[in-house]
């Protein structure tokens, strides 16, 4: 099923985040990260924010971080962002 989906997306050149519900990260400098297609907030503190996504757990590290806005589609994290990576 996944293979058919992939072929369908490739043939029609559909955006993969819409087909696979992959997370989309939009980073603005070191002050803001917008994460679309996330599944939920796992951990939230001013130094570490963990978000669940279909690609794995996204860990954002930094200082004085806040969740500026949050709804079912996206979450916006602001603050001093040092790094973000997917945990295994």
């Amino acid at each position: 099923m996944k293979g058919i989906k992939r072929k369908f997306a490739d043939v029609f050149e559909l955006p993969s985040e819409a087909v696979y519900a992959l997370p989309v990260l939009t980073v603005t400098g070191r002050i803001e990260v917008i994460v679309e297609n996330y599944e939920g907030v796992i951990e939230y503190s001013p130094e570490i924010i963990r978000l669940g996504t279909s690609a794995g757990t996204l860990k954002i590290e930094g200082l004085e971080m806040d969740i500026k806005c949050m709804n079912s589609q996206c979450v916006k994290v602001t603050g001093q962002i040092d790094s973000f990576f997917y945990e295994a």
């Binding site: 806040d66 969740i67 500026k68 949050m70 709804n71």
Partner: protein, 396 residues
């Protein structure tokens, strides 16, 4: 920018979520489509902003997630309205204030004139007031073009005028004409003769033939500049013509004056008695509320003038407080020295008053004799001034 404004208009709340399942509460709220923003974590509690309309749903989510939540603040227009609903006087004041500002803005409250140098601003303002432009009139009632044209027609010295209303101020901008230059009629030839006896100080001739020079003694009637111009070839006169003589001639002349200074003077001696009168002015009339005084002579001095105005428009209601101070008139005699000072003041202005603005007194010799109630003075003045009187050419 618009979203925060919209949220403020609709109203929002700040919720404190505490406990171990606070994270679950936030995730469930996002999952069920509730918009949350400005989520802060102080280590123990989560502080979340959400719309007022979502509060009921959040209570249900809180119950399901087992999280302890509490609405700690209410923000937005709906809560402001609720807070001030009972303050009717405040609401009335706000409405009245807005109405007052809007209605006052419909009127002209100040008239200003710009660009005038020779024409007095007050004259222009008074004329405009007669044409309907003055403080206190409705802006829509003023025909700006008509008034501009009327100003140009009324004042010959104004070449251009424009009237504009900026806010509540009417600005009249004018541009004056170039002053007319004096047209000298050169058709009638003339000589210049002396009106006084004196010594010539300086002579500058623009037209004509000078017959005197600096240092010459002249008598009244002597010719100073002749209008006859002759054309000479060496010593031989080839021809002549008559012109209108034009020259600036200064001379020193001596004048004798006799005058007297009255030593009697009425002086006010204040007795120290005073009374206060209060007057209310209403639409130009004054109504007094004061203690009547039976002073034979008194000075009324305005102590306070309390009046309100909006721009140039004076509100026709005010309060004036007068102080009446009683005095007695006493006739005193001034001293001879004081009379001498008054006499010198007379001499100081003698030259300018009698011989023009560029005349001045070079020297003076003043003698006075005290006659008791007056001092009689004789003075000899040496004055430097312009002389010269035009007369028709003698040889013509």
């Amino acid at each position: 920018m618009f979203l925060p404004i919209w949220n403020y208009l609709k109203g929002y709340v700040i919720i404190k979520a505490s406990g171990l399942s606070a994270g679950k509460f936030i995730n469930m709220a996002a999952y069920y489509g509730v918009d949350l923003w400005d989520i802060r974590n102080d280590g123990k509690n989560y502080f979340i902003k959400a719309r007022m309309a979502d509060v009921d749903e959040l209570k249900e989510i809180s119950r399901k997630s087992g999280c302890r939540t509490e609405v700690i603040k209410y923000r937005g227009i709906p809560f402001l309205v609720k807070k001030y609903k009972k303050r009717r006087a405040f609401i009335f004041g706000c409405v009245f204030f807005i109405f007052y500002i809007c209605s006052m803005s419909l009127f002209v409250w100040r008239v200003k004139v710009e660009g005038n140098y020779r024409v007095a601003g007050e004259d222009i303002k008074n004329f405009c007031a007669s044409q309907g432009l003055r403080a206190g009139v409705l802006k829509n009632d003023v025909d700006l073009n008509k008034i501009s044209n009327d100003i140009i027609a009324q004042f010959g010295d104004i070449a251009w005028a424009s009237v504009n209303i900026d806010g509540s101020e009417a600005i009249i901008s004018i541009s004056e004409t170039i002053p007319e230059t004096e047209i000298i009629d050169n058709s009638e030839p003339c000589d210049i003769i002396s009106q006084y006896d004196g010594i010539i100080e300086s002579i500058m001739v623009a037209e004509g033939t000078p017959t005197v020079s600096a240092g010459d003694i002249v008598k009244k009637g002597d010719m100073l500049v002749s209008g006859r111009l002759s054309f000479k070839d060496g010593e031989e006169e080839k021809g002549y013509t008559y012109v209108k003589s034009d020259a600036y001639i200064r001379a020193r002349t001596v004048h004798r004056l006799s005058f007297s200074v009255d030593k009697r003077k009425n002086e006010k001696e204040y007795t120290g008695n005073s009374s206060i009168s209060v007057y209310i002015s209403l639409f130009g009339n004054e109504y007094g509320f004061g203690m009547p005084n039976n002073f034979e002579n008194c000075d009324y001095k305005l102590r306070n003038d309390i009046g309100l105005s909006i721009g140039d428009y004076k509100i026709p209601f005010g309060l004036k407080i007068y102080n009446a101070e009683e005095y007695i008139l006493k006739e005193v005699l001034i001293t001879k020295e004081e009379a001498d000072i008054m006499a010198k003041d007379v001499l100081l202005t003698y030259g300018e008053e009698n011989f023009g603005f560029d005349a001045y007194v070079i020297s003076q010799d003043l003698n006075g004799s005290d006659e008791g109630d007056r001092v009689n003075y004789t003075a000899v003045l040496e004055v430097s001034h312009k002389i010269g009187q035009e007369v028709p050419c003698s040889g013509q």
